[in-house]
Symmetry: C2
Subunit: 168 residues, 2 copies
């Protein structure tokens, strides 16, 4: 019997999708090599002039994953500087965040649905219950940035399919 | 006190994001009018030649929402034909799916984490527990298509921000 818990609807989702993102980025790097494309071209590609490029999408996706795991367990968010400039470093960042998210014990999430969580955004502070934070902030933001990373690569000709996004 | 339940991590998430999608599409339609752009140009826009256009992204997003609500509650999926050709019809489809998803009582989702769910995809049948189905299929697919709809519009110059995606 599967047990529903705040852990079960958060940490494994982040870990699975981060691993999928890692596979997607590996395919992108391989594509760049095969097509003799400068990897920086993909890493700096964006869907609109005022949207973030691929590299930043990956940084933000990982930030939402580790931010959610820390906030839901009431622990300190582990800071990671945004210094990556290539695929190898992004892969290392993803591995590090997978490791952070997976390091929490399921029971550390117990009661997280009622934890008071506040998130600072420019000029405002959002206040959520843990459940609303997960449903309305952490998961939508996380999926937004993983999907946008995938979309940037698809728009730039990298051979990816929905399967890579869902179950790579 | 917030209660964690299969309902709480599914139906309200779909409803909220569908309402956000509705707002995003309303802004897109307004943009087309203001810029004297044929709405069909936006509805048929895509990020890559082998990705679905905006109109189909909205249809699929709504399908995942009503499919998830039905499968998790063990009820019949209400079929909706894919006949929309304009913004008004897409808005009606979203309203209809919001109404379907919101029509289930929370207790109909009780125990859904252990419900056996199978999903037919081309040449295969996927089997999930209800929890895995939500985490690994319904939510990732749903967010994928809502985000891609947003991304198509952003790539085509519609003035939208992350806020529209998260909390419109």
């Amino acid at each position: 019997m599967t047990k529903l818990s705040m852990h079960a609807v958060s940490a494994p989702v982040f870990v699975r999708m981060l691993n999928n993102l890692s596979t997607i980025l590996a395919k992108a790097e391989k594509h760049a090599k095969a097509k003799d494309v400068d990897p920086a071209t993909l890493l700096n590609a964006r869907l609109a002039a005022d949207m973030f490029p691929l590299l930043r999408q990956v940084q933000i996706a990982t930030d939402h994953a580790k931010g959610a795991a820390a906030r839901l367990t009431g622990t300190q968010i582990e800071a990671i500087e945004d210094t990556e400039t290539n695929f190898e470093q992004l892969q290392a960042r993803i591995r590090r965040v997978v490791s952070i998210v997976a390091s929490f014990r399921p029971e550390q999430f117990d009661g997280a649905e009622n934890r008071e969580i506040s998130v600072k955004i420019p000029n405002a502070e959002l206040k959520f219950s843990g459940l609303d934070y997960l449903n309305q902030w952490a998961l939508p933001n996380f999926f937004f940035h993983v999907t946008t990373a995938y979309a940037i690569l698809r728009a730039n000709g990298v051979e990816l399919g929905k399967r890579d996004f869902l179950m790579s």
